[in-house]
């Protein structure tokens, strides 16, 4: 055993000596390996982002190209002083992000705690509970539009059976219910993300901590507050941050279920930008709005990480 180990070591050592020359020659190897990834990221992630900043100070309208040219800060001035959509859509973004992330975190935590217990068919039930994670925003939209629909939707049918409403409601077309409806549909799709990441961290908490808490006579609620939550803190901070950024930018359900309506009641800032980009032609103005929303996200991310005192292990 020790003999063969010794031999291997000598071989490895002599190999190292031989390799020393090779190492110099191979210096370019890792660069060659990362080159394709580097170029693609540079060309199709960083370059587009850079051009957004460039377009934001340009008059750039595809349908009126004769006005195109340097604009200075005019687009930004327009946003902050003249745009009647800006502040309402920003408020809708705030409402959207806070409700979504709050609800998704709460229900995701409950689901993770449930799935972390031992019971029969746990593997299958976990898989089923996570299915919405794999379902696209558009698909979630079609499914929930079939649920909310006033002619054939099951939700109206159930509510009428329970006597809560007298006649079928067009949930997605009414200003009083449209926002809540999209919130529910997006919640459906978002719970698994939190459940998956929290479950991964939950299973890595040492059992001894819970045993010690039980010996000290802690109730289940207390051991959740004093053992589970502190152990999950870093995961919670990072997942909520990622999710806030993600939900702020997510328009798939808003776009397909309400299109930002009725009466702009579900138009978030990103929905406003997406609408300008897809249906409009004023790319300069759209870019300026994008830069503003990027700035908002950046400030939020920095503040959030500072305030939560996030520490990397």
């Amino acid at each position: 055993m020790s003999y063969s180990q010794g031999v291997t070591e000598t071989v490895v050592n002599s190999n190292k000596a031989v390799n020393r020359k090779k190492i110099k020659k191979d210096k370019w190897v890792p660069y060659l390996f990362i080159l394709p990834s580097f170029l693609i990221i540079l060309g199709f992630l960083f370059y587009p982002i850079a051009t957004v900043f460039y377009y934001s100070v340009q008059h750039y309208d595809v349908s009126a190209p004769y006005y195109n040219g340097f604009a200075g800060l005019e687009n930004f001035k327009e946003i902050f002083t003249n745009d009647k959509m800006f502040i309402p859509s920003l408020m809708n973004s705030l409402k959207w992000v806070v409700t979504e992330v709050g609800l998704q975190l709460t229900f995701g935590m409950i689901l993770a705690l449930l799935l972390n217990q031992t019971f029969k068919f746990r593997g299958v039930i976990r898989a089923v509970a996570f299915i919405p994670w794999a379902i696209s925003g558009v698909l979630a939209s079609t499914m929930w539009s079939l649920m909310f629909n006033e002619h054939m939707g099951v939700l109206n049918d159930l509510l009428m059976k329970m006597g809560i409403v007298d006649e079928p409601q067009a949930f997605l077309a009414s200003t009083s219910t449209a926002f809540t409806s999209v919130i529910i549909a997006e919640l459906w799709r978002g719970i698994p993300f939190f459940a998956i990441t929290l479950l991964a961290s939950l299973s890595s908490i040492p059992v001894e901590l819970y045993e010690a808490a039980r010996v000290d006579g802690a109730s289940r609620w207390k051991s959740f507050i004093y053992v589970t939550l502190p152990q999950l803190k870093n995961t919670i901070v990072l997942t909520t941050l990622l999710r806030v950024v993600w939900e702020f930018n997510n328009v798939d359900l808003l776009f397909n279920l309400t299109g930002g309506g009725p009466a702009h009641s579900t138009t978030t800032l990103t929905m406003y930008i997406a609408d300008l980009a897809v249906h409009g032609s004023n790319f300069g103005y759209g870019s300026a709005l994008t830069v503003v929303s990027f700035g908002i996200l950046l400030v939020f991310a920095i503040l959030y990480l500072k305030l939560s005192r996030y520490e990397k292990e």
Binding site: P30, I131, V138, A140, L146, T270, T290, S293, F294
Partner: protein, 278 residues
């Protein structure tokens, strides 16, 4: 007495809430399936049928042939498979470099990868449209393949470098000592051990491309080039919606994603947890 209490406790803290959450998860999927198998006339008929009384597959035929889901399916498949192949090659290479080599600029490269995770996707649609318009690639699957590859590479590189780090370096060195060339060692020792990780990475990439909507909408303006999400979205926006065909189209888009997900979901808890914990 004690066991009865325990049972009640288990019911209240586990089975009841779990059943409620699972019903919430399953019901929209069930309702879509239910609608897809009803004849057009039965869908809006009251009382609503919670099970199709006259089950039929006519909605699937309509969606597949008349609405064009055969084409959307094919387009999504082309974009998805191509993206997966390019992403796997690029991210295995860069993941290998990150896991096995020390080199100048490695830290900067990793920071660059992390930064990309905070780039809002919606921020890219205007510049991407301009770039691909100038390249003459609007409504060309190539534009989607390139964009999706760029978006996926940072995450999959980090994922792959983790998987590669799990393969002991000594195994590779031992194979070289035993007379393998470096490439042979990679092919016969590292690759087989890496295969589950490669498959999981490929599945996650495929699901992303299969589901992506906003960029595909922005970069495609011919119906013959629509991917499934764009096709579904367009159908939903039409004035008179054929609910049965819409439900059937949703089922068509749903099946591949769910099958792949069922296969890869075990890696999800480990892989995503690991990536988030970073």
């Amino acid at each position: 007495m004690f066991t009865a209490n325990k049972k009640v406790d288990k019911l209240l803290t586990l089975y009841l809430p779990l059943t409620m959450l699972l019903s919430f998860t399953i019901f929209p999927i069930y309702w879509t399936l239910n609608t897809a198998f009803k004849p057009e006339g039965d869908i809006v008929k009251r009382p609503l049928q919670y099970m199709p009384i006259n089950p039929t597959t006519e909605n699937f035929v309509t969606a597949w042939t008349n609405v064009g889901f055969a084409t959307f399916f094919k387009n999504s498949l082309i974009v998805g498979v191509s993206t997966v192949l390019v992403v796997l090659v690029c991210s295995t290479l860069s993941g290998y470099a990150l896991s096995r080599y020390q080199f100048k600029g490695k830290r900067s490269f990793m920071i660059m990868l992390l930064c990309t995770q905070f780039i809002p996707r919606a921020m890219m649609i205007i510049p991407l449209f301009v770039i691909f318009k100038n390249l003459g690639l609007i409504s060309n699957p190539l534009s989607l393949i390139i964009t999706y590859t760029a978006i996926e590479i940072p995450f999959t590189t980090i994922l792959m470098s983790g998987f590669i780090s799990n393969v002991p370096k000594e195994l590779e060195e031992a194979a070289v000592i035993d007379g393998c060339t470096k490439l042979q060692a990679l092919r016969f020792v590292v690759f087989p051990l890496l295969l589950p990780g490669i498959v999981a990475t490929g599945v996650f990439t495929f699901i992303y491309t299969w589901n992506e909507f906003l960029i595909a909408l922005m970069l495609t303006n011919q119906q013959s080039k629509f991917t499934l999400p764009v096709g579904l979205s367009t159908m939903m926006g039409e004035f008179s919606i054929n609910y049965g065909a819409l439900a059937a189209g949703s089922v068509i888009a749903l099946i591949p994603a769910v099958i792949l997900f069922a296969y890869a979901q075990k890696h999800l808890v480990n892989g995503m947890g690991g990536a988030v914990k970073g």
